[in-house]
């Protein structure tokens, strides 16, 4: 009895020291904060861009707009106009307003990329988890097919598909981009899933007699959601660049619809005249992709940088 009371008094004095580190929170660094603001800015533009645009994306501006008061020039050039109060970011090779086209193009570029990335995730995560939890045979089949897909350069692969389908519409563009990027998502989802599948808590669930569905949705997915979200950001950036590259080659979004990638391409000749027309959409692509990257950096720092290694694929 006396020993027991002695022990309780001692235990109040020497509690077990906390072994758990404090919960890591995502802390935004300065670049991260800038990234978030830029991202929010573009998100707003996607929603209201077309309504605040001074002109329609396909409008070829009237020559009259550019007549300098007092000059006797009747038919001034409307193409590659420098920035002015009439065209804030100048005009493009057909004399369309660059600002309006960027505002309209935000919806196309971001929309297509987002849908394609979501599609890539839908396919990649589903098959990746299936490979991680399924039989060895299933894993081998899926992984070998995936390896084969990954070995084909993505732009080449897309070019062949687009050519075969004879320049199909935006719908097919999304499908192709989603399909091509699903391969790398598959790899990440599979390796993350495999890691969780061998953990003790999944084993505990198996011993309990849990079904596969419960294990996937309750044990595996919550534990890989964070790394996948980080990868989603990066993958999204890749898809934007990919779609823009295709548009630049003239195989992506078709005129007169505006899209940042094709805008760079159309106005390339303007560089000779010192026009800003090809630079502005390029700048738009750069701000969007760099800001996503800056946010991803912060998230992966919060998860201990473990993801960084896996994502070099």
């Amino acid at each position: 009895m006396s020993q027991a009371s002695q022990e309780t008094s001692a235990s109040t004095q020497f509690d077990e020291l906390p072994t758990a580190p404090p919960k890591r929170k995502i802390r935004l660094s300065w670049p991260g904060k800038i990234g978030v603001s830029v991202l929010i800015f573009w998100a707003i533009i996607v929603v209201i861009g077309p309504t605040i645009a001074p002109y329609h994306e396909a409008d070829i501006l009237d020559e009259e707009l550019f007549i300098v008061p007092g000059s006797d020039e009747m038919y001034p050039d409307t193409d590659f106009q420098p920035p002015s109060s009439i065209v804030l970011l100048g005009s493009d090779y057909l004399g369309r307003d660059t600002l309006s086209r960027i505002l309209f193009g935000a919806r196309t570029t971001i929309g297509i990329s987002l849908l394609a990335t979501l599609l890539a995730y839908l396919i990649g995560v589903t098959l990746g988890i299936a490979a991680a939890v399924g039989s060895k045979f299933l894993d081998m089949c899926l992984s070998r097919v995936n390896d084969a897909l990954l070995s084909i350069p993505s732009i080449m692969f897309a070019l062949v598909l687009i050519a075969a389908l004879n320049s199909p519409g935006i719908f097919w563009l999304i499908l192709i981009a989603g399909f091509i990027y699903a391969a790398s998502v598959f790899r990440i989802a599979r390796s993350l899933g495999q890691e969780v599948m061998v953990s003790d808590f999944v084993e505990a669930a198996k011993v309990r007699g849990e079904g596969l569905w419960w294990i996937i949705t309750r044990e595996v997915l919550p534990n890989i959601a964070m790394p996948l979200a980080t990868d989603f950001g990066l993958r999204f950036v890749w898809v934007i660049l990919f779609i823009s590259s295709l548009s630049f080659l003239g195989l992506g979004v078709q005129p007169p619809m505006s899209d940042w990638g094709s805008m760079v391409k159309e106005n390339l000749s303007g560089l000779v005249y010192g026009s800003v027309a090809p630079l502005m959409p390029a700048l738009a692509i750069a701000t969007l992709t760099i800001s996503v990257n800056m946010i991803v950096d912060d998230i992966s720092a919060a998860t201990g940088g473990k993801l960084a290694k896996r994502m070099i694929s």
């Binding site: 022990e7 001692a10 004095q13 020497f14 077990e16 020291l17 906390p18 072994t19 758990a20 580190p21 404090p22 919960k23 802390r27 953990s199 003790d200 808590f201 084993e203 505990a204 198996k206 011993v207 309990r208 007699g209 849990e210 309750r218 044990e219 919550p222 534990n223």
Partner: protein, 604 residues
């Protein structure tokens, strides 16, 4: 100047994300004289490793020195620049990490790695270093000292690797050795061999050492002075005899209290109550199991052979053996995680299907598995109430208020406050997580609880508390326990019956009293004599015994024929023990020993 190292009012703090400093080490002072071993002892989080590393002028990332001095030969190492530190580390102060297996590069030979540091620092030429390494191998009593340097790390045993780490550290004749828990991960029989080698080589080389550990009985064997730490402060500082024999501080006494007494007969928790003698709760019959593809009825690697274990209702059976003996495999077979190749697992007398997927939900409910590492056994993304609630829902169909009430009861049972229901596992300490881990298994209202090394990863005081909890739960619930551990003292303090496994065979089984008192199987005798005792001088006495000399420093080998213990056995009979499977001798009261020798022969 007699003091080699002086640590003077050392302060180290951690800087968090908000740039706030939290003190980790709060004004610690001690001295290490030439040729002396000073032990830093404390539980995890006490700052012992942080203090030890400061003698190398190093702090872990996120920590910084905020005051005090660490003087080596009167020179402050904290204020040294990186060039000076390079001269210090590896030359004058050498560090020995906890896990040798993780430190050695598997692609390089042992010799290259042992000599690398001193050759790199230009202390010795390669030839001199090789010769020095060979002397050290001899001093550390490593086998084949002249050829050892040509071998690769995977070709020697864990205990040998640990000693080779010492050779690496000593090669450049450092003034000070820093040993960070060098024997914690080792089996008892290996630990004793490593301790002995360390002790003699430190004496021989005249080096001083800082020995970091949480194990007071190990410290008693090797240290001259002991520094007892708690939460970054010195609780007690004195000579080894003083601290071990006449501890003056409360905390030291608590540490000593938590050291499990050496296993002795009459200690087990004998269940006296009359239980139904009908069918045992769980029984394993003629089990053969292993890993890899099964061909001709035999798995590629056979881990368990001829295993027969009976767990009576309400009893607790301890399963003991060194790493690699198959004790966890046995638990996995019982749980159905690893289907057996041959033999049966019976629950309440009814045969269970070997694989998990074929077993019924009621059968699964009756056998619950408690995993070793609570850190990894609890899903970090689930709250405690979800973790405990799931088995209630899954097996018992409890919902809503009823479920919530039961979760509260379970938390009470494992002595945790109710508010923990809303926390995530990472917000709990190691011992608390282990309690949740237990509560989850209890939630299923099982008949048999399989506890796989449940306290091995915990600090001694915390572990002792968990054992107390288990004892209480056993009385409360009447659940049968299978208690797996490599630590004989733990098993002895908890189990009614003990099964001793060696290389996949049951070498001895019986009640705790029977197993812990003569007659012993030679292996049981070795195990019992290897558990360090909390007194100075124990190590030297033990090394004199016949068992120790024959059995220590050998690798467990799985064999197809004969007795697996043959290589290490002082009583081995050449031609019989290595050829024929030993017979099971049943002694009084169902005490069984598997050995060729007769009762009279091993009773000595």
């Amino acid at each position: 100047m007699s003091d080699l190292l002086e640590v003077d009012n050392l302060r180290i703090s951690a800087r968090n994300d908000d740039d706030e400093l939290t003190p980790i080490v709060k004004g610690v002072s001690f001295k290490v004289a030439r040729g002396e071993v000073v032990a830093l002892i404390g539980e995890s989080g006490s700052g012992k490793t942080t203090i030890a590393l400061s003698s190398l002028g190093y702090t872990k990332p996120g920590l910084e020195f905020t005051g005090g001095e660490v003087r080596l030969h009167g020179e402050d190492v904290i204020s040294m620049d990186s060039d000076q530190l390079r001269g210090l580390r590896g030359q004058r102060v050498a560090y020995l990490a906890q896990s040798a297996a993780a430190t050695f590069n598997p692609a390089l030979t042992i010799g290259e790695q042992v000599t690398e540091t001193c050759v790199l620092h230009g202390i010795l030429t390669q030839e001199e270093a090789d010769a020095r390494a060979e002397t050290l191998y001899r001093a550390l009593e490593l086998p084949d000292p002249d050829k050892l340097g040509k071998r690769y790390p995977h070709q020697v045993s864990g205990g040998q690797l640990q000693r080779l780490m010492a050779a690496t550290a000593l090669c450049g004749k450092p003034d000070l050795l820093v040993l960070d828990e060098p024997t914690t991960a080792l089996d008892v029989t290996t630990q004793i061999e490593v301790l002995k080698a360390f002790k003699s080589v430190i004496k021989q080389e005249g080096a001083a050492a800082i020995y970091v550990t949480h194990d007071l009985s190990v410290v008693a064997q090797i240290a001259d002075h002991i520094v007892v730490l708690y939460a970054g402060e010195i609780q007690e500082y004195g000579t080894a005899e003083q601290v071990v024999e006449k501890p003056s501080h409360d905390y030291t006494r608590r540490l000593m209290h938590a050291v499990r007494p050496p296993p002795a007969a009459g200690q087990g928790d004998e269940t006296t109550g009359e239980h139904h003698r009908d069918a045992p709760a769980l029984q394993v019959k003629d089990l053969l199991a292993g890993y890899g593809r099964i061909q001709n009825g035999l798995p590629a690697i056979t881990v368990l052979r001829d295993v027969n274990v009976v767990i009576e209702r309400g009893h607790s059976v301890g399963i003991i053996g060194e790493s690699g003996c198959g004790k966890s495999t046995l638990a996995r077979v019982m749980a159905g995680l690893l289907p057996a190749a041959e033999g049966q697992v019976l629950l309440d007398g009814g045969e269970l299907k070997p694989a998990l997927e074929q077993r019924k939900r009621e059968e699964l409910q009756k056998i619950q598995f408690v995993f070793q590492m609570a850190d990894t056994a609890l899903n970090p993304r689930q709250r405690i109430d979800n973790i405990l609630g799931r088995p209630l829902e899954f097996y018992l169909g409890l919902k809503g208020d009823e479920k919530r009430r039961r979760i509260g009861e379970l938390l009470d049972m494992v002595e945790l406050p109710q508010e923990f229901a809303g926390r995530y596992p990472e917000e709990l300490s190691g011992g608390q997580k282990q309690r949740i881990n237990l509560a989850r298994a209890l939630a299923a209202s099982p008949e048999v609880l399989l506890c796989d090394e449940v306290i091995s990863a915990l600090d001694s005081i915390v572990g002792a508390n968990v054992i107390e909890l288990l004892k209480r739960l056993r009385k409360q619930t009447g659940v049968s326990f299978v208690f797996i551990s490599h630590d004989l003292s733990t098993v002895a303090s908890f189990a009614d019956e003990i099964v001793v496994l060696y290389a996949g065979r049951v070498v001895e089984k019986g009640t705790t009293d029977q197993v812990l008192s003569p007659p012993y199987h030679p292996y049981t005798r070795l195990l019992i004599s290897s558990v360090p005792e909390l007194r100075v001088g124990w190590l030297e006495e033990t090394m004199q015994t016949q068992e120790a000399q024959a059995g220590i420093d050998r690798v467990v080998t799985l064999k197809d024929k004969g007795c697996p213990f043959f290589d290490r056995c002082p009583l081995a009979i050449e031609g019989t023990c290595d050829q024929e499977t030993p017979p099971v001798r049943t002694l009084a009261g169902n005490h069984a020993i598997e050995c060729h020798r007769s009762e009279a022969e091993f009773a000595h």
